[in-house]
């Protein structure tokens, strides 16, 4: 069972809807390798609590399941038998599906698998930020209308302490991968940050295409489970971009300008989200469990090289 420490560590999952949590479970089974058990059981605990509070009928009455187990399943007749075998069946002539490889999963593959799983969590979290009408409108921020159109000449920003020359060499590979992904989608590669907080790792950027446009997702995660995601989206039309509005909590919206690109930094519980748009077709979002200072350093590094 999740202890108190783990409950704090995975508290961000509590903000997801039941449907989103179920989608995470389906993503877990779809993966050919086993996911993070602690996360899975926290998800299950959240759904169970909600189900007990508002039953939908998927769980039996208390005590009934155990009684049925003893009466129907845990009987001498079932000795050595399985209703649902765990291994592939073979035909009577001995042919059949070859069992999946049981080769041990290397640490790197397991980490990559976890990153993919957490990528879905991160995307779901960002989706929760992008709903509802932002109160910043009432505070005087016209999010889309206030952002100036950018040109290629504007992509020359200082990135302060985020000098890529001081970073872990592997970060150069991350930067190249993001830039290649952007270029492959026709999105200006200068939108890629060139500095990331120390201690984070990422796998290959994920490119998602749908009717609205194309998004390049890069999920970064460190060993303690903190993560952030960089989403760079090019919408097909300005109208598609305008579909997104933002939700904020009682914390203020901070405008952080770097050259001619103004980001709006929002806080939502313990999540920091920074967004920028050219009000035409491009949207950049940096979101996750990172500090505002690191978020600003990432912003400052965009277009570095």
């Amino acid at each position: 069972m999740a202890n108190q420490k783990q409950n704090g560590k995975y508290a961000y999952l509590d903000r997801l809807s039941t449907e989103q949590l179920q989608e995470l479970l389906r993503a877990d089974i779809d993966s050919r390798e086993d996911g993070d058990t602690d996360v899975i059981f926290h998800v299950l605990e959240v759904i169970e609590e909600r189900e007990k509070a508002c039953p939908t009928g998927i769980l039996p009455e208390e005590g009934k399941a155990w009684a049925e187990f003893q009466e129907h399943y845990n009987t001498p007749e079932g000795e050595g038998l399985s209703l649902y075998p765990s291994q592939p069946e073979k035909d009577s002539d001995g042919t059949g599906d070859i069992a999946e490889s049981s080769a041990p999963v290397t640490v790197k593959r397991r980490y990559t698998r976890q990153i993919r799983f957490h990528s879905r969590i991160a995307v779901a979290l960002i989706a929760t930020c992008f709903t509802g009408v932002i109160a910043a409108q009432a505070a005087g921020f016209d999010i889309l209308g206030a952002i100036g159109r950018w040109t290629e000449e504007t992509f020359q920003f200082a990135y302060g302490d985020g000098n890529p020359g001081k970073q872990d060499p592997k970060y150069a590979g991350y930067i190249n991968a993001i830039q290649e992904a952007l270029a492959g989608c026709g999105i200006p590669k200068e939108l890629s940050p060139t500095w990331f907080p120390a201690g984070y790792e990422t796998s290959k950027p994920e490119v998602l295409k749908n009717d609205l446009g194309t998004t390049v997702n890069s999920l970064f995660q460190n060993n303690s489970g903190s993560f952030f995601i960089i989403q760079i989206t090019q919408y097909n039309t300005a109208e598609d971009l305008a579909l997104f509005t933002f939700e904020k909590d009682k914390e203020r919206v901070e405008e952080y300008a770097n050259g001619q690109r103004a980001f709006y930094i929002l806080s939502n519980l313990d999540n920091t989200t920074a967004t920028w748009s050219d009000a035409n077709s491009l949207l950049v979002c940096i979101s996750g469990l990172i500090s505002v200072e690191d978020t600003k350093a990432i912003i400052d590094s965009m277009g570095g090289y």
Binding site: E51, A65, G80, S86, D91
Partner: protein, 167 residues
């Protein structure tokens, strides 16, 4: 089982049955069948009680076992449907009782099934494979035990392997 083994299984069942059912329901999208698979997972735990008692992570063991059962049962079901009906599994799931909507070759397959199997066996095959019912439901419909239902399904499979060639 020894009394302490009984208590161990009961404790695990109390702690994790609901959670595992939620997992299985999310994946299978059917809570009745999900409970069937979860109950079978705990039955598997009984069969391997000595190993489970010594295991450092019984919760993890249960989850891995459940996932393997779900994956393999879905794979077997799709394989079964495509083999015996030569239909895409998505089409087969829509099939149920609308035999009149099948083309001639598939109607022939359906008729062959009805000639090869007894009425109860046809009922069992349709309910378990095509309608995704649980073993508990079907066993109660037929007035037999869950394990008798499982053995009859195995006999149905053997009959059909003889009648329908591998594809």
């Amino acid at each position: 089982m020894l009394p302490e083994q009984d208590r161990f299984i009961e404790e695990l069942h109390l702690l994790y049955f609901n959670k595992l059912t939620i997992y299985a329901t999310s994946v299978l999208r059917d809570s009745t069948r999900a409970q069937d698979v979860v109950q079978d997972t705990f039955h598997e735990a009984v069969l391997h009680i000595d190993r489970l008692l010594a295991h450092e992570n019984p919760r993890g063991w249960l989850m891995v076992t459940l996932k393997n059962k779900i994956r393999e049962s879905e794979r077997a079901r799709r394989r079964y449907i495509t083999r015996f009906l030569s239909l895409d599994s998505d089409i087969a799931t829509e099939l149920v009782a609308e035999i009149e909507q099948l083309d001639d070759s598939d109607q022939q397959v359906y008729l062959k099934l009805e000639q090869t199997l007894t009425k109860d066996e046809n009922h069992l095959l349709r309910r378990l494979i095509f309608e995704n019912a649980s073993h508990l439901e079907v066993s109660q419909e037929l007035g037999i035990t869950v394990w008798a239902c499982q053995k009859r399904l195995e006999r149905v499979r053997q009959k059909l392997r003889r009648v329908f060639p591998s594809r």
